[in-house]
């Protein structure tokens, strides 16, 4: 049996809507923005309307159930329910949209911050393209000293960083919920694993306020750590971050991998 056209149209719309949600929010884990989804659904509805009404016969079939409900006395109960429920739904929609909320107004952020090639850190201009972690070579040269430095880095981390970035380095520290954007999850393969140590050094040392102009307006609450930590402490923390998560820092010496940052 063929489904009534009105049902077909409704199923297509619901299907497309759920499709967007399932594909984006669950399968791809990249949530589809509500503003965009609204517009997408608007145009999909227009498209469905177009396909279902371009000739008289289809249009008649489409509106027949609606017409019957409104005009046929048999469906009086259904009609009255619909006529009550729809205004109520619209009213609820209006109410919930105009209800004042505590959510901050939407802000537009333009670009993913690309690092500058040089940055001023501890009053000196350093070249981020060539900068290296001064302790990294101990990893092969003297593993014992290296482990010691990692331990020192861990201490610095626990004292300063874990409140936001979490004691498991997963971005879920006690304060994380209050922050927006959320603290970075270092366990994620898409974060420090894709970055050079010099990039981390720059981000840690200059914090949110040190983000380049093209990334503005950016409201990252990361402190400017060069005002609290020494240069050595920062490098040691970086050692710890990679050591604990088991990632290796990216280096330009190797071939660039395709899934780049």
């Amino acid at each position: 049996m063929r489904l009534p056209r009105l049902l077909q149209a409704a199923l297509v719309l619901v299907g497309v809507y759920l499709g967007f949600i399932v594909v984006f929010d669950y399968m791809l884990e990249a949530v589809i923005p509500g503003s965009l989804l609204t517009m997408y659904m608007f145009f999909v509805t227009v498209g469905v309307f177009m396909v279902f009404t371009y000739d008289e016969e289809r249009t008649r079939e489409l509106v027949a159930p609606i017409k019957a409900m409104v005009e046929n006395p048999i469906y009086r109960g259904a009609r009255n329910t619909v006529f009550i429920v729809i205004p109520l739904l619209v009213g609820y929609g209006v109410y919930s949209r105009t209800l004042p909320s505590f959510e901050a107004p939407v802000e537009l952020r333009t670009i993913h911050p690309a690092p500058p090639s040089t940055a001023k850190i501890y009053g000196e201009r350093v070249n981020l393209l060539t900068l290296e972690n001064p302790f990294r070579h101990y990893q092969t040269d003297d593993p014992e000293i290296f482990a010691e430095y990692v331990q020192e880095g861990a201490a610095v981390y626990i004292e300063n960083c874990q409140y936001c970035h979490g004691d498991k380095l997963d971005g879920k520290g006690p304060y994380a919920e209050g922050l927006n954007p959320t603290p970075l999850n270092f366990q994620d393969i898409g974060t420090i694993a894709q970055l050079q140590e010099s990039y981390l050094y720059w981000r840690i040392a200059t914090g949110g306020p040190g983000l380049p102009k093209e990334a503005a307006p950016w409201i990252s609450s990361m402190p400017v750590w060069q005002e609290f930590l020494t240069e050595e402490e920062i490098w040691k923390v970086i050692l710890f971050l990679y050591d604990y998560t088991g990632h290796a820092p990216r280096s330009w010496g190797e071939a660039h991998d395709a899934g780049g940052h």
Partner: protein, 273 residues
């Protein structure tokens, strides 16, 4: 009539929804107001503030970051520290600069003097730059603003800052302080007119007029030569005549006088014997 009204209603709804979407559906961004001349107080500025001024101009009024950004429209300027010398040494370099500061200044005022390979206007084989000159046109940086940008570029590129903070606003600025902007006054052709205009005799005695804040000039030509007079006019505090205070005579006559007027003054004074 029913058809007519429903058509009207349809059209109004369509226009209304376009308007509603433009107002509510997209974020409303308040565009920046037209740029205004930066008020610069050069006298009280240290190098840090001067660099900050350069930074502001670089990111704002100068509109530099429209192109000098990571999107590859123009060379990145935070790398000039390592690049500038190489550009100067390039065989293609045909400009007139001899040092890095000169090179940078030249690339701001005459962008086509040297075009980095790959960044020229399409079809010109890198002989013509798409960048507008920054001294004129829509950007129109003043002398001090240009110097501030230069200083910022040097600092930002990891170079030693060799640009010095200029001491005056440059000619355009003093012109603007004059009564009629853009309307240069006609040069004076007689000593008396000049003396009246600049009120020399308020302080100096010249012939009959008597002022006593400055030295008597009635016979200045007998004791001083032309070069001394010239220096005294342009840089009055370089040497102070005995018995008089420093800093009394205005030191900006050089910017207020036409060259012919200066010569006229020197001629006249050196003949007073």
């Amino acid at each position: 009539m029913r058809q007519f009204l429903s058509v009207i209603a349809f059209m109004l709804i369509v226009i209304g929804s376009f308007s509603a979407y433009s107002n509510l559906g997209i974020p409303q961004i308040e565009p920046a107001p037209p740029p205004t001349e930066e008020v610069i107080d050069l006298g009280s500025m240290d190098m840090g503030q001067f660099l900050a001024l350069g930074d502001r101009i670089f990111n704002g009024k100068g509109t530099c970051t429209l192109c000098h950004n990571s999107l590859g429209r123009a060379p990145m300027l935070d790398q000039i520290g390592s690049n500038a010398q190489a550009r100067l040494d390039d065989a293609r370099y045909a400009g007139s600069a001899t040092d890095i500061e000169g090179y940078l200044r030249e690339s701001l005022t005459d962008p086509s003097a040297y075009v980095v390979a790959g960044f020229g206007k399409a079809g010109t084989n890198d002989t013509e730059s798409p960048m507008p000159g920054t001294e004129s046109g829509s950007i129109a940086l003043s002398g001090p603003e240009l110097a501030a940008v230069l200083a910022f570029l040097q600092d930002n590129g990891g170079l030693e800052v060799t640009v010095e903070i200029p001491t005056d606003m440059g000619d355009e600025a003093t012109d603007e302080n004059a009564a009629e902007p853009g309307e240069p006054r006609a040069p004076f052709t007689s000593f008396q007119d000049l003396s009246d205009e600049f009120a020399c005799e308020a302080c100096h005695t010249i012939g009959e007029e008597a002022g006593d804040l400055g030295p008597n000039l009635s016979a200045i030509g007998a004791t001083r030569d032309r070069d001394y007079i010239r220096r005294a006019l342009l840089d009055p505090n370089a040497e102070i005549a005995e018995g008089f205070e420093e800093g009394m005579m205005p030191d900006d006559l050089g910017t207020q006088l036409y060259a012919t007027e200066l010569e006229l003054l020197i001629d006249h004074l050196s003949q007073l014997k």
